[in-house]
């Protein structure tokens, strides 16, 4: 960590960035903080068990100070979210400086991450990507009726806390579909099942970066990440598009209209 800390201190001292967003130890707990001078960097920590939606916080800060250049400490998934946010014009690539850190192999396995390292890192060993779709094949092996019963049972526990949406780094819409009164009844419990979760799942088809924060934020333990991984896999198999990989390629569900994502057999 020391090389990264030195690099961050140099960036702050030379005025390259106005501040760096990372985790700081406060009363023994790692919490997000914006470091504005190199002296405070001695409290900077990297925590493997507690992950926060740091790129979402960055959007909030940058919207208020659009002229400042802000650095941010990113892992693999957060680096992908930066690329997605650049594509959607929520952040400007020249006003954000990413500082890469690695995830260890245990975290990569827990997250089933297929790219547990950002595009550039200062130090550390890159973990090996984990290709594990056993959570999806488990559900797909069930017959249709049982699958439906399983999902309705899980969705029925939802308390409409909007945690999955609030913590998601890819969710930045100012008017959310889940709060649209013509689609979802405002107030009232339980939410409309299953479309409450399927609405967001469809949005995640070309935006989800597979960070896993949504499932960690659900108080009822609904396996929403499986839904998002499934649509992500569908988009990858059908259109060969993975969100967060290429910063110039737009997704297939955005209105391109130039036939660049034409499916075979569509024009029959």
């Amino acid at each position: 960590m020391e090389k990264t800390r030195e690099k961050m201190a140099r960036m702050l001292d030379e005025g390259f960035v106005s501040g760096i967003l990372g985790l700081r130890l406060s009363h023994g707990h790692p919490v997000p903080y914006l470091f504005t001078d190199s002296v405070s960097l001695k409290d900077w920590v990297v925590d493997e068990t507690n992950r926060y939606p740091i790129t979402k916080i960055l959007i909030q800060i940058w919207k208020k100070h659009p002229n400042k250049v802000i650095g941010v400490v990113v892992r693999g998934c957060e680096g992908r979210s930066l690329i997605e946010l650049f594509k959607n014009h929520q952040l400007h690539p020249e006003k954000v400086k990413g500082i890469g850190i690695v995830c260890n192999q245990e975290l990569a396995k827990r997250c089933r991450c297929d790219r547990p390292y950002p595009s550039e890192v200062e130090e550390g060993e890159l973990a090996k990507p984990v290709e594990d779709f056993s959570d999806l094949t488990e559900i797909e092996s069930l017959p249709e009726e049982e699958r439906f019963k399983y999902w309705i049972g899980k969705f029925g526990e939802c308390i409409k806390c909007y945690g999955c949406r609030n913590v998601c780094p890819a969710c930045f819409c100012t008017t959310c579909t889940l709060e649209d009164p013509s689609l979802i009844k405002p107030g009232g419990m339980p939410p409309e099942i299953p479309i409450f979760h399927l609405h967001k799942a469809f949005h995640m088809a070309d935006r989800c970066i597979d960070c896993g924060l949504c499932e960690e934020a659900c108080p009822m333990g609904i396996p929403v990440r499986k839904l998002y991984r499934k649509v992500r896999k569908s988009v990858k198999d059908l259109f060969h598009y993975t969100p967060g990989e290429d910063k110039d390629l737009k997704g297939p569900l955005e209105f391109l209209g130039d036939g660049s994502y034409e499916l075979p057999g569509v024009g029959r």
Partner: protein, 120 residues
């Protein structure tokens, strides 16, 4: 069968399809202009992409992906329109009513928690 007219198949948001299933529809048929002859340019390309992803998603959740169908029907092909509709209706009758109808929370008349009304 409830026909809903839109100006272009590209107007059909995936959220409309989901809402139709929530309200109890057994199947959704989307009929658009042929590829290359969309009145607005290229709206039907995006519809094709959306329906492809939606089928996978619904299949994963347990609603048969055969309940959504996308067809390219030009304005003059009235025979094809009639045939597609009768075919689709037959398919849906075979598949049976939508499993959403069996979910007790989804009945519009019933709400699990009624609002408390205080008598004066």
């Amino acid at each position: 069968m409830l026909p809903i007219r839109v100006m272009c198949s590209g107007r059909i948001s995936p959220h409309f399809i989901l809402k139709a299933f929530q309200e109890g529809a057994d199947g959704v048929l989307i009929a658009g202009c042929h590829i290359g002859s969309c009145h607005y340019g290229k709206g039907n390309y995006i519809t094709a992409n959306r329906v492809a992803v939606m089928k996978d998603l619904l299949g994963f959740v347990g609603l048969s992906p055969q309940r959504i169908r996308l067809e390219w029907i030009a304005t003059s092909e009235s025979n094809k329109f009639a045939n597609v509709i009768s075919e689709f209706t037959k398919e849906i009758t075979q598949l049976g009513p939508s499993p959403m109808r069996k979910v007790s929370w989804n009945r519009k008349a019933e709400r699990v928690m009624e609002p408390l009304v205080l008598q004066p």
